[in-house]
């Protein structure tokens, strides 16, 4: 009996995780895009006209990363394809500027997606000319990258088709660059219809909180109604908890987009298990700590004492020379001074050992060579810069396990 209920519970929490994970990992489109109704209407209307009336259009969807451009488009497409007439009528072609890095590849991809594989090169545009053909929706993700192709041939041709009485096409560009129009060459620009749909979320914190609640809540059709009620109640109390609100406020201040929020919620969700069938405020706090952690300070925790000493020496050099670059010899001298004058706990290291430690730091990209031509200059004299902020060093020192006090004192003292 006991095991049975545990099994059931186990399966329930797995179900919850599955449902919410789908949501957070963008595997399922939301029922309705939130906070972009007018844009949704505009885009849907535009594409519907292309699909139904065969009117050519071009449009750009502009918004910062994570603002829901692709989500909006996919929602619109889903809605569009639900219309029976349209369903068999439109041919969507998805291109991505990061995948189709030049026009040739893009053309190949277009032909592949249109099932015209035995066509080569420019012929696509010849065949696009039949005005009775089905409307083609060209979806160009990372539109700005297409603008960097040679002569912008692809964009010119696509937009030219959309501006001439050939096959009905809709060119939909997705980009996060606000200045994307300035990238277009004047002829290409003239052919673009200058329709831009901006997705700039002006979400207030209250809406943000509501959103968190709805994102974490289970859907109506959840099989176990008892668990459903329990879970949703716990989520409601969670969102009213002051510490949780503080954490969310901090996230909201940092970024309004849903992707970072989903990351946070995902981390919290992964702590849900059969024995702990609800998200507690501590889970969220822990998740937030993981999200907010400084990656470089973390690396510093893993360094050896010698490497840490070198970092401190570099910090002092930075202080003395006001951020001018340094080389290994300078760092080594500084380190030797410290050993001679102040150190009680640290032994003298051979120069090759110190060199090795220095190179390790370079590999970790905590320091960066300033010279482009490394071959000419001896390793000892290559100019370097520290890629760490003072605050990061001090923070790392505080947390460093069993850090010798003299090292700490050296770090804190001004001018070595």
């Amino acid at each position: 009996m006991c095991t049975l209920s545990r099994q059931r519970k186990g399966s329930i929490h797995e179900l919850v995780q599955m449902i919410l994970r789908e949501r957070f990992c963008h595997q399922r489109l939301p029922e309705k895009p939130v906070g972009m109704e007018s844009q949704h209407k505009h885009l849907l209307e535009l594409l519907r006209r292309t699909a139904v009336h065969g009117e050519s259009n071009s449009v750009l969807i502009v918004g910062p990363r994570g603002s829901g451009k692709t989500m909006l488009l996919n929602c619109v497409l889903r809605e569009l394809l639900e219309v029976k007439d349209v369903n068999k009528n439109v041919l969507p072609v998805h291109l991505n500027g990061l995948l189709q890095t030049d026009d040739r590849i893009a053309l190949k991809e277009i032909t592949r997606q249109l099932n015209l594989e035995n066509v080569v090169g420019d012929k696509v545009f010849v065949s696009v000319k039949e005005s009775s053909s089905r409307p083609v929706l060209f979806i160009l993700d990372e539109f700005d990258l297409f603008a960097h192709h040679k002569n912008q041939t692809l964009l010119y041709n696509l937009l030219d088709v959309s501006q001439s009485a050939q096959a009905p096409v809709a060119v939909i560009g997705l980009t996060c660059r606000l200045d994307v129009l300035e990238l277009l060459e004047k002829r290409v620009k003239s052919r673009f219809s200058h329709r831009q749909i901006h997705l700039l979320s002006s979400l207030s914190f209250i809406q943000y909180l509501d959103n968190v609640r709805s994102q974490l809540s289970l859907p109506q059709d959840f099989p176990d109604t008892k668990f459903y009620d329990e879970w949703n109640d716990s989520i409601k109390t969670l969102c009213e908890d002051q510490s949780v609100v503080d954490v969310l406020q901090r996230h909201y201040n940092s970024s309004k987009d849903f992707r970072s929020l989903h990351l946070l919620l995902m981390l919290a969700l992964s702590r849900v298990s059969a024995s702990k069938p609800a998200i507690k405020p501590t889970d969220l706090l822990e998740a937030s700590r993981v999200c907010m952690v400084d990656s470089k300070a973390n690396i510093l925790h893993g360094l050896s004492i010698l490497e840490l000493c070198l970092i401190i020496a570099m910090k002092h050099l930075n202080d003395i020379y006001e951020g001018e670059p340094f080389n290994f010899q300078m760092v080594h001298n500084e380190f030797k001074k410290f050993l001679q004058r102040k150190s009680h706990s640290i032994h003298n290291f051979d120069k090759p050992v110190v060199m090795k430690a220095f190179e390790h730091l370079q590999q970790l990209e905590l320091i960066k060579s300033m010279d482009s031509s490394t071959a000419k200059i001896q390793k000892e004299y290559q100019l370097m810069k520290l890629l760490l902020d003072h605050s990061q060093i001090m923070e790392a020192l505080q947390k460093y396990p069993q850090c010798p006090t003299d090292v700490k004192q050296w770090a804190m003292s001004a001018f070595g």
């Binding site: 065949s127 053909s133 959309s162 009485a165 050939q166 901006h198």
Partner: protein, 905 residues
């Protein structure tokens, strides 16, 4: 030379006949189909139609000027009657000291094609004395009968007598054959007053003898006439060889090897001037192996018939297939023509040959099913006359199209033959028909009748020009038959092989190049007035006219037209910012010129368009030009060589090529050889190439072209100014064309705004379309009138032109806004517009303390910075530089501060 004056002795009354058939908007004139003239006091009315040879009143009453009538036109008031003519000179008109240049004693009836430009070819139509056919009493030809015929063999260009270039005769409208060989000089009058006698080589002014028509149809008569023909040895030789060739071809079934099999024939063929060899080559190419047997049979059949001169009987099985009542009639003609070919090729009349060839065609058509065989036959048909020096008549270049058409007429069940009928229809018509054919395959029968009607239009016209005297019922039948034949000849000149390929087989590209599947559900038509307006305002919709570019249109039109008329070449450079109608204007010009050439006002020409943006490499231009010119697909280097050859040698078809090079600047290469060639070809003597180039910058030739290229481009420049607001308004109004969807003020606002920004018509149309959408969405308001008002236009303008930076800053998260403030603070501290992330981050931390926010870690700070960089609010260096990457603002500091202030308030 002086203008020809009119001296009226007998009072004549001139009246336009028919309805004005064209409105030449360029010259503000009407064209007329024919001119009725009558002499006062007499009943007889004479009709003069273009294409006829007319006598024009001059100083010498006995020898009036001779000319060929090209076209009639009049002004709007119909007061002035003008005519365009091609002059011919009598020997007496040639200066005395030049007469010796002829080098032989002239025939009394000989006239010369006038090549000089000194003579105005526009005459007062009221100086026309008449055509010889209709008013023989009036004609000042003293001798009746055979002497009434004038002959052209040579041309006179005010300096020397030249062998008449057949090309010259080509720009005579309609049925002029493309490849006449040397013009013949038959010593004896041929009895031809028939429509097709407009052949370039020998012009026969008919005798008043009414039996002429009958003679034209009868074999024996013609043969008799022909046998009297006298010809030069050279001609005889070539004729002989030609007949030999055809004989050998019949015997040896190998077409490709035909020339090789009979080298002697080939050699002899070379004796005959002109393009004999190319014909033969064409023939060889066109010939196809698999249809040998059938063809041989048919040819044997016809040849045997010709040998035996048995009329019809051997062909009776075929004749039974002929459905037309004229079928019988056609057969004798065909036979006669064949027999005539052998006996006395020079002497027989054009009409007979024409009908004869058509007859052959038809007979064979019935026997042979595949299109290839048509190619062969057509080439056979087309080449043989030229070999026989029947250039006068000659049917144009192997016209696959014609054949396919005939095929479709005779055997409608062959789907492959469902081809567009006629080149002579305007491009739109043709394309329309193609579409029809593609879409309505089930509706073929109807289409046939359509096509036939279309075909008959030109033929009837050709008919009118020559067979006016036929009045009787009986002769109408003949006329009908002739119409069919005339149709062939009238249409063929416009056929060009490469065009033909694309036109004849419209279905082929469909199968060869896969295309996007056509839509299953037809596009819905616009519903309300706003939809309609939006459809009309779409850039792709072709407007009825191009307003505001009249001057440019006129200039380009004149340029291209004059080049096409003169058969010369030239370059023109057209510049203008995008969206000012450059390409549209040229397309409109070409459309008008195509129309004009369809109306036989100007010679036919080819239009080829390439676009620098639509090719991956400048050298692809060669490939594309060649492909559009000859339908060959070769590599760039080879294409360049072929084009070089094509343009430096006399073209096989004497027609002008108009080449539109769009986006010229993209054809730039380091050595500029593509541009060099494009501008060098028009300067070649035989090229007949007109190059129109389009680019955006006015000084492109000076900026990017090296001297030798810029020099060849020449100084024929034109620049399209950006549209002014009035013009933009006019454009929208003309596009809307009385669809009342906009308030006047709204239109004015759009056009003023766009004119101030760019003058780009595309922009203007796009804004208007967007405004209609906004209007539609806000139409739920009860107050709205359904018209697009100022507010809608304002909204659309805002959407399109306002920068989104300020909104973007307003919508950014708190830390992002803080970072922007930190950037500005750091810039102020440094006094520079650039700082490293490290420096900014120090500021950021300080600011967040001031704001009472928890300071963020460096990683988070970098993430914020990257997000701003992705939106391009900030410009960042590569992110591998980490904390050392430099940060710049992409917006002005004032904008940032304004936006941030607005947020705080």
């Amino acid at each position: 030379m002086v203008r020809y004056f009119t001296r009226l002795r007998v009072r004549r009354i001139y009246k336009w006949g028919g309805r004005p058939y064209i409105f030449d908007r360029k010259l503000k004139s009407y064209g007329f189909e024919y001119l009725n003239m009558s002499v006062e006091g007499q009943e007889a009315v004479t009709t003069v139609t273009p294409g006829q040879y007319i006598l024009i009143e001059g100083n010498d009453d006995e020898y009036p000027f001779v000319a060929k009538l090209l076209k009639f036109f009049g002004d709007e008031s119909h007061k002035q009657k003008k005519a365009l003519v091609q002059w011919f000179l009598r020997l007496s008109e040639v200066p005395q000291n030049k007469k010796l240049l002829l080098g032989r004693s002239p025939h009394p009836q000989e006239i010369f094609y006038y090549l000089g430009r000194a003579c105005d070819n526009e005459i007062n139509a009221e100086s026309i004395l008449g055509t010889v056919q209709h008013v023989p009493e009036d004609t000042p030809f003293p001798e009746p009968g055979t002497k009434d015929t004038l002959y052209v063999k040579l041309s006179w260009d005010t300096k020397a007598f030249n062998v008449l270039d057949p090309v010259l005769m080509q720009d005579t409208p309609a049925s002029t054959p493309p490849k006449p060989a040397l013009p013949l000089f038959p010593p004896c009058a041929s009895p031809t007053a028939t429509p097709v006698s407009r052949g370039p080589v020998r012009r026969a002014l008919p005798t008043p003898d009414p039996t002429v028509m009958r003679r034209a149809g009868s074999v024996s008569d013609t043969r008799a006439t022909m046998s009297a023909g006298k010809r030069s040895t050279l001609e005889a030789e070539s004729i002989h060889s030609a007949s030999k060739l055809s004989a050998s071809k019949i015997l040896s079934a190998k077409r490709r090897g035909s020339a090789a099999d009979t080298p002697g024939v080939r050699k002899k063929l070379q004796l005959s001037p002109g393009k004999k060899m190319t014909r033969a080559d064409v023939l060889c190419e066109l010939l196809d192996e698999e249809m040998e047997s059938e063809k041989v049979i048919s040819l044997k059949l016809s040849s045997s018939v010709s040998h035996s001169l048995q009329h019809g009987c051997s062909l009776s099985p075929m004749r039974s297939v002929c459905k037309t009542p004229n079928g019988q009639r056609r057969f004798p003609w065909k036979l006669s023509s064949i027999s005539l070919d052998r006996l006395s090729p020079t002497g027989y009349t054009l009409s007979i040959l024409d009908s004869g060839t058509t007859g052959i065609d038809r007979v064979i058509t019935l026997q042979i099913e595949c299109l290839d065989s048509y190619a062969f036959l057509s080439s056979q048909r087309a080449t043989t006359p030229s070999r026989r020096k029947e250039s006068a008549m000659a049917i144009r270049e192997p016209a696959l199209g014609v054949l396919a058409e005939e095929d479709s007429e005779d055997s409608p069940m062959q789907p492959i033959a469902l081809t567009p009928r006629s080149k002579r229809k305007s491009a739109q018509l043709v394309s329309l028909r193609i579409r029809k054919q593609l879409n309505l395959l089930d509706n073929t029968q109807k289409l046939f009748s359509d096509g036939d009607d279309d075909c008959f239009v030109p033929s009837m016209k050709a008919l009118q020009s020559s067979t006016d005297e036929e009045k009787s019922e009986e002769e109408t039948v003949v006329r009908k038959t002739r119409g069919r034949n005339g149709k062939t000849s009238a249409r063929t000149p416009c056929k060009t092989p490469s065009k033909k390929v694309c036109m004849v087989t419209p279905s082929t590209p469909r199968h060869a190049t896969p295309s996007i599947p056509s839509r299953t559900v037809p596009a819905r038509q616009p519903g309300n007035i706003l939809d309609e307006a939006r459809a009309r305002l779409h850039v792709s919709s072709v407007p009825e006219s191009l307003p505001c570019r009249e001057q440019e249109f006129q200039d380009i039109y004149n340029f291209v037209e004059s080049k096409v008329m003169d058969g010369t070449g030239g370059c023109m450079y057209i510049s203008g910012v995008p969206g000012t109608g450059k390409t549209a204007t040229i397309h409109e010009v070409i459309r008008c010129l195509q129309h004009a050439s369809d109306m036989d006002e100007i010679p036919t020409f080819r239009f080829i368009e390439i676009n620098g943006m639509k090719m991956t490499d400048p050298h692809q231009a060669y490939v594309q030009i060649l492909q559009k010119l000859t339908d060959q697909k070769v590599t760039a280097d080879h294409a360049a060589a072929l084009l070089e050859k094509r343009f430096s040698n006399p073209a096989p078809k004497k027609e002008t090529t108009v080449l539109l090079v769009d986006e010229l600047d993209l054809l730039w290469t380091r050595k500029q050889n593509v541009m060099y060639n494009l501008f060098d070809w028009p300067t070649r003597r035989h090229a007949r190439l007109v190059v129109l180039t389009i680019a955006n910058t006015m000084d492109l030739p000076e900026r990017i072209m090296i001297n030798r290229v810029a020099s060849r481009l020449g100084l024929t420049r034109m620049s399209f100014q950006p549209y002014s607001f009035k013009q933009l308004q006019q454009i929208i109004t003309s596009r809307l064309n009385k669809v009342k969807a906009f308030e006047e003020d709204a239109l004015q606002l759009v056009s003023r705004k766009v004119a101030a920004l760019s003058g780009d018509a595309r922009r203007c149309l796009d804004i208007c379309r967007r405004a209609t959408e906004i209007c539609e969405h806000s139409a739920s308001h009860p107050s709205s009138t359904g018209l697009v008002r100022m507010s809608h236009v304002m909204e659309a303008l805002d959407e399109m032109f306002s920068s989104s930076y300020i909104t973007a800053i307003g919508c950014a998260s708190l830390q992002e806004q803080l970072f922007l403030r930190a950037v500005i603070a750091e810039f102020r501290r440094l006094g520079l517009e650039e700082a490293t992330f490290q420096q900014v981050f120090v500021q950021h931390r300080a600011l967040s303390r001031v704001e009472g926010l928890q300071p963020i870690s460096v990683s988070e700070g970098l993430a914020v910075c990257q997000r701003l960089g992705a939106c391009r609010l900030l410009l960042l260096e590569a992110s591998r530089l980490d904390m050392l990457q430099r940060v710049r603002l992409n917006v002005s500091q004032d904008d940032v501060l304004y936006a941030l202030k607005a947020v705080r308030d």
